[in-house]
C-alpha cells in the first residue's frame, strides 16, 4: 500500500470513530463484555522508550498470604477455614459491635440498623441493611474482616467473623438460630437481593439542547 493510500485509510478510520462517538451521546468509548460503559477517549501521547524499565521486585503468593484476603463473594472463593455459630456471634457482637450499632443491630449511637428492610426497595423508603441489600452472604465475611470493628480492623479471627456473619444473618431472618457458618455454608445462604442489580446502562437520559422558548 502506498503511503498516500495508507493516510487516506487512516483518515477514514478516524472519521468513522468520530461518527460512531457522535451517534451515541455519552456512550462513546466502548464497553466491557458485561456492557459497562468505559468512557474511553483514545490514546494519549507516550514517550518513546529505548527499553522497557523493569523495577518490580519478584514476590511470591505465599509472601502475600496475609494481604490476600478478598473474597469472591458470589461463590465464596477465598473464604478461610474456621466456623462460627449464631450464639457465639451474639456474644462477640455485644462485646465489640453493640456500642456503635446498638442492641440486636437495630441501630446505635453511631450507625443505623443492620436488620430489616427486606421488601422495602419497591416502597418510597428503601432501608439498606446487609439483609436487604447484600446479594451474596460472603460479603459479610469480607467486609467485617477487612473493616470491623472500626477502631480495630483486621483484629478478628476467622471464627469470630463467621460467628458475627451468622448472627447478623439470623437477625435478618436468613438463617436459623442454630446455624453455623463456614466456608461451605456461608455461600449457600440465599440473599433476597441476589437478583436486584442491573449493569450500568447509561446514558439513560437523552436531553435536547434547546436554545430558545424551551419552557
Amino acid at each position: 500500500m502506498s503511503s498516500a493510500k495508507f493516510k487516506l485509510l487512516a483518515v477514514s478510520v478516524v472519521g468513522a470513530l468520530v461518527l460512531a462517538a457522535c451517534a451515541s451521546p455519552g456512550g462513546g468509548g466502548g464497553h466491557t463484555k458485561e456492557g459497562i460503559p468505559l468512557g474511553a477517549t483514545g490514546p494519549h501521547p507516550v514517550q518513546p522508550l529505548p527499553d522497557k524499565p523493569r523495577f518490580g521486585q519478584p514476590v511470591s503468593e505465599a509472601q502475600l498470604a496475609a494481604w490476600n484476603i478478598d473474597i469472591r463473594t458470589p461463590d465464596g472463593k477465598g473464604l478461610p477455614a474456621g466456623r462460627g455459630s449464631v450464639s457465639e456471634g451474639q456474644k462477640i457482637y455485644v462485646a465489640k459491635c453493640l456500642a456503635c450499632h446498638g442492641e440486636n443491630a437495630k441501630g446505635g449511637s453511631v450507625y443505623g440498623a443492620m436488620v430489616g428492610g427486606i421488601g422495602s426497595f419497591k416502597t418510597g423508603t428503601r432501608v439498606l441493611t446487609p439483609g436487604s441489600m447484600y446479594p451474596y452472604a460472603p460479603i459479610l465475611f469480607d467486609y467485617i474482616r477487612r473493616s470491623m470493628p472500626m477502631d480495630s480492623p483486621q483484629s478478628l479471627t476467622a471464627n469470630e467473623v463467621y460467628a458475627l456473619s451468622a448472627y447478623i444473618l439470623n437477625l435478618n431472618g436468613l438463617v436459623a438460630a442454630d446455624a453455623v457458618m463456614d466456608q461451605n455454608s456461608l455461600p449457600k445462604v440465599q440473599m433476597p437481593n441476589r437478583d436486584g442489580f442491573i449493569v450500568d446502562n447509561r446514558p439513560d437520559v437523552r436531553a435536547v439542547r434547546c436554545m430558545s422558548n424551551c419552557k
Binding site: A21, C22, S24, P25, G26, G28, G29, T32, K33, I36, L38, G39, A40, T41, H44, V46, K52, R54, F55, G56, Q57, P58, V59, S60, E61, L64, N68, I69, R72, P74, V110, K122, T125, P130, Y134, P135, I139, D142, Y143, R146, S147, M150, P153, Q154, N193, G196, F197, I198, V199, D200, R202, P203, D204, V205, A207, V208, R209, C210, N213, C214
Partner: protein
C-alpha cells in the same frame, strides 16, 4: 422538535458573526437588557457626572498604605507558604446537611465558590474516607501486583518514581456529589451542593506499564484495588480501564499527594466515580471476575425503578455548575456581572456550555476558557447585565460525545430518586431575588 434544533444552531452562529467582540460585550449586546445597557453607556460617555457622584467618598486623597512604610516579614530559611491571613474563610467543610455522628467515615467539600480557574489547591481538595486518614511512611510502604499474572511484583515508592512518568489534568468527583439536593434544596452554597469535586494535575506511572511488566494472564478480566487504610477500601475494576488511562499516582499539583488524598500512592481512574481511585493503594490483584464487594453492591450503586440497583456505574457523566454567583452570595447592584462556573465530563471534553438567566426558557452559549482538556474541569464565562429584577441562573454542558446535561425532571423519568441517589449530574438553578440574594432552587424550577 425541528424548532428546537434550529434554534440550537442559531445561537452559536449569531455569536460567530461578532467574533471580534469579547464574550462579555457579545453577551451584553444579545441580552434582553440591551436598552438598559445602551443607556448606561450613554451616561458614561456623557461625562464624569456619574463617576463623580459614586466617588464622593473618595474625595479625600488616598493615604500611603502602611505596607509601603515598613519592612515586611523577613524570609525564613525554609518554609511551606500558606495563604494570607485574610483568606481563612476559604476552607474545606464537612457536610452540614447530612451530619454524620462520627468523622472517620465522612466527607469534606471543596469551596468551589472561591476557586478561580480549574485547579483545586491541595489543601482544598475534597475528602471522602471510610476509616479516617492513615499516616503512612513512604519508606515502609509497598505496592503489590498479583493474582492472574505471570510474575507477582512488589514495588517500593523508590521503585515507582523511577518509571517513565505522566502528568495529566483530570477532574475528580465523588459519585455522591449532590446527593442531598435532588427534588428540593437542602444545601445553601455551591460548596455544599457540588463540593465533592476537585481539579488536579496528577503525576504518576500508567498502570498499564506495571501490568505489562507483571504479565497479565489473557483470562484476567477484572482488577481488584485495595487500600492500606483502616477500611481496606476495595473495588473491582474492568481490565480495559486499567490498560487504558488508569494512573498509579504519587504527585498532585506539583507536590507529593497529601495524606488525606492517598499519600504516598493511589490509583486515579480519569472520569470515573471517585471511590474507584483507591487511596493509600497497597494491592492490585488481577482476577477473572468482579468480587462484588460491599463497596460495589450495598454502596456506590444507584436506585432504579422496580426496586432495582444499577451496579458498576463508573463514568461521571457530563455536568456543569455556576460557581459565581451561587447560593449564599449577594449581587452588589444591577449592571455587569460575570457568570462563571465549571463544566466537566467523564466521557471526553466539554464542547459547549449554555447559560440561561430566565430559568431555562432561553439559553445562550458561554465562552469556554482554554485549556479545554479530556476529563478535566473546564471554566466557562458569560457576561450578564443584571436588570435588578428576579432571575434564575442555570448552566448546561454538552460533551464531545454529544451528550447534553439533563434536568432533574429528565433524570427522574428513568431513575428512582430515593435515598442515597448517586450520579446527580442535573442542571443546577440558582435564583436571584430583587435584593440580589442568590439561593439554591434545585427541583423548584
Amino acid at each position: 422538535m425541528t424548532e428546537k434544533l434550529t434554534s440550537s444552531t442559531a445561537a452559536p452562529r449569531s455569536r460567530k458573526s461578532r467574533k471580534h467582540l469579547p464574550a462579555e460585550v457579545d453577551a451584553q449586546l444579545e441580552s434582553q437588557d440591551r436598552r438598559r445597557f445602551l443607556r448606561g453607556s450613554a451616561a458614561i460617555a456623557g461625562g464624569v457626572v456619574a463617576a463623580g457622584a459614586a466617588g464622593a467618598a473618595a474625595a479625600q486623597a488616598l493615604p500611603i498604605p502602611d505596607s509601603n512604610k515598613s519592612m515586611g516579614k523577613a524570609m525564613p530559611a525554609t518554609e511551606y507558604g500558606m495563604p494570607s491571613q485574610f483568606e481563612k474563610h476559604v476552607v474545606r467543610r464537612r457536610t452540614d446537611v447530612f451530619v454524620n455522628r462520627q468523622n472517620w467515615s465522612d466527607w469534606s467539600m471543596t469551596p468551589l465558590q472561591h476557586q478561580p480557574g480549574i485547579i483545586t489547591p491541595n489543601g482544598l481538595i475534597f475528602e471522602r474516607h471510610h476509616a479516617g486518614t492513615p499516616d503512612i511512611d513512604p519508606a515502609k510502604h509497598r505496592l503489590v501486583i498479583h493474582g492472574m499474572v505471570k510474575q507477582p511484583l512488589m514495588f517500593s515508592m523508590d521503585d515507582l518514581v523511577r518509571y517513565p512518568s505522566v502528568s495529566r489534568f483530570h477532574f475528580h468527583e465523588c459519585s455522591g456529589n449532590g446527593l442531598t439536593d435532588w427534588l428540593k434544596p437542602a444545601s445553601k452554597t455551591v460548596q455544599q451542593t457540588h463540593g465533592l469535586l476537585s481539579g488536579c494535575l496528577w503525576t504518576g506511572v500508567l498502570l498499564s506499564t506495571l501490568l505489562e511488566e507483571a504479565g497479565v494472564d489473557p483470562a484476567g478480566k477484572w482488577v481488584i484495588f485495595e487500600g492500606a487504610d483502616g477500611s481496606a477500601h476495595t473495588r473491582s475494576v474492568p481490565i480495559e480501564k486499567c490498560m487504558d488511562d488508569t494512573m498509579i499516582v504519587y504527585g498532585m499539583n506539583g507536590e507529593r499527594l497529601r495524606p488525606e488524598n492517598g499519600y504516598p500512592v493511589r490509583a486515579v481512574m480519569p472520569g470515573w466515580e471517585g471511590n474507584v481511585s483507591v487511596k493509600w493503594l497497597r494491592r492490585i490483584k488481577v482476577t477473572d471476575q468482579p468480587a462484588h464487594f460491599r463497596s460495589e453492591t450495598a454502596r456506590y450503586t444507584d436506585p432504579m425503578p422496580d426496586g432495582k440497583w444499577r451496579q458498576f456505574s463508573m463514568v461521571m457523566e457530563c455536568k456543569s455548575v455556576i460557581t459565581n454567583p451561587s447560593g449564599g452570595m449577594v449581587l452588589k447592584g444591577p449592571g455587569f456581572h460575570e457568570i462563571t462556573g465549571l463544566a466537566w465530563s467523564g466521557a471526553g471534553k466539554v464542547r459547549h456550555v449554555d447559560v440561561s438567566v430566565d430559568g431555562g426558557a432561553n439559553w445562550r452559549e458561554a465562552t469556554l476558557e482554554e485549556p479545554i482538556m479530556d476529563k478535566s474541569l473546564t471554566r466557562f464565562k458569560f457576561g450578564w447585565n443584571w436588570n435588578g429584577g428576579p432571575a434564575t441562573l442555570m448552566s448546561r454542558a454538552v460533551d464531545s460525545t454529544g451528550y447534553v446535561q439533563p434536568s432533574v425532571a429528565e433524570i427522574q423519568k428513568v431513575r428512582a430518586i430515593v435515598g442515597f441517589v448517586q450520579h446527580h449530574n442535573a442542571i443546577q438553578p440558582w435564583s436571584v431575588n430583587a435584593k440580589g440574594e442568590v439561593s439554591n432552587v434545585i427541583g423548584q424550577v
